[in-house]
Amino acid sequence: MNSNPIDVLVIGSGPAGMAAAIQAKESGSKRVLLVERAEELGGLLSQCIHNGFGLIYFNEDMTGPEYGQRFVEKVMDSKIEVLLETMVLRLAADRKVTLCNKYGIKTLAPESIVLAMGCRERTRESIVIPGYRPAGIFTAGTAQRWVNIEGYLPGREIVILGSGDVGMIMARRLTLEGAEVKAVVEILPYIGGLIRNEVQCLYDFNIPVLVEHTVVNIHGIQRVNGVTVARVDQNRNPVPETEKFIECDTLLLSVGLIPENELSYMAGVILNPVTGGPMVNERMETNVPGIFAAGNCVHVNDLVDYVSVEGEKAGQNAAEHASGKASPKMGIKLEAGENVRYVIPQTITGQREVAIRLRVKEPEKDVILKVGEFMTKRLKVVKPSEMLHLVLSERHLKGIKKGTAQLVVSCRKED
């Protein structure tokens, strides 16, 4: 039994957590503990059996499990301690972590923590779709687990609400497994995910796509037997005259991901109301010293590759914190300006090169992305579903006026 203190404790072993643990080790931490509530490492990677992962991180087109395998191998090789089927029950502001598994309850006091809990899915109940509460309503991710890990199909005739990537991927998956996807219903006037998925998941299979529509009724008392869809107006309200019944036995919901932050909340970590995740600085550190965060629990990412990059950053800084290295002062706040929904990180030192990520509010063509007044980038098209990346190099940062406390990041249409 190792009685040395734990340098870095990582909560969650998905693409963010594994990258953080590996990097913490590489940055010199002696004891790194990776805690996972499921039965194996990898988080959701094991159930994301489709490809499109690793294009940036490994320069290869991999499936989720293959991408995960690379990290799992490194975790095993790096002598990172792993606890599976272990739930974190409590996280305190003084960084005490209470774990629970079949061996018992234990409270640990690591030097630093990386939060990498990922997201949960928005549910039917919270968006209040009228109807009874029949069996046959699943969120897309839970359906994905059933189909790809457990070996069961939720149903034979499916309607999917929400055209985000998870919804589209499941449309293809279920179709290939022999089910009939009767429609993908999207409330906005455009598809929510990547164009590649639009083509390869929906058009390839002639799956009917209903944009500017929503589900206004779920039929069936004990089991779904159909849904009613309707077109929506500019205020996203259903137009009753356009109601149409679609017979089906299953409704899949892909209506939003919510960063999972119950532990963060317990520890007094300040959350950003726009992202639902912790406010972080350029070191991926939260307002609680020694508690870092990365991946989908900070903000919903579009590519897993960036989740791992963030994880690395958090892991490295967590290791530095554990070794006693002092935190640099964050001098500048980054504010979300015109057509920008949020910016990560929210505070930067202003002295060192930093990568910024952001999402726009509305799709737009021919835009100028600006940071303050000193950095601009022209883009042909921007969409809320695709994260944008900027690097503020030291050269850029030298151009900031002394004493600047805040920089606005905006995305305006070029006139």
Binding site: N51, T63, Q69, I149, L176, V381, V382
Partner: protein
Amino acid sequence: MKNVSEIICIICPLACRVSVAVDDEGRIVEIANFQCKKGKEYAVAEYRTPLRVLTTTVIVEKSRHALLPVRTNRAIPRKELFDCMDHLATIRVKPPLKVGEVIVKNILNTGSDIITTHELFD
């Protein structure tokens, strides 16, 4: 007589809708509405023979796992996807298997193997 098909290019977020016009003999006579060379090449290839990577699962026996995820190791013609799914529905595998092991060689003569994407210890 020209037949015009619209191919949505997936290479960059612009998602150009490239139009590909062919004559009665199936020869491409015009390609329009693209913004770059990559897009033009993609549209032609996609029009002629759309290729896709198939990712799916196979049933596992003698294991505590129910399924093993697999993939084609190269893209195969889109029209073969369902036949491949039907064929793979009959395959059974058992542990131990490493990532990348071939479980079906040259599936349905597509030139692609079916390889594992996840380890299967037990």
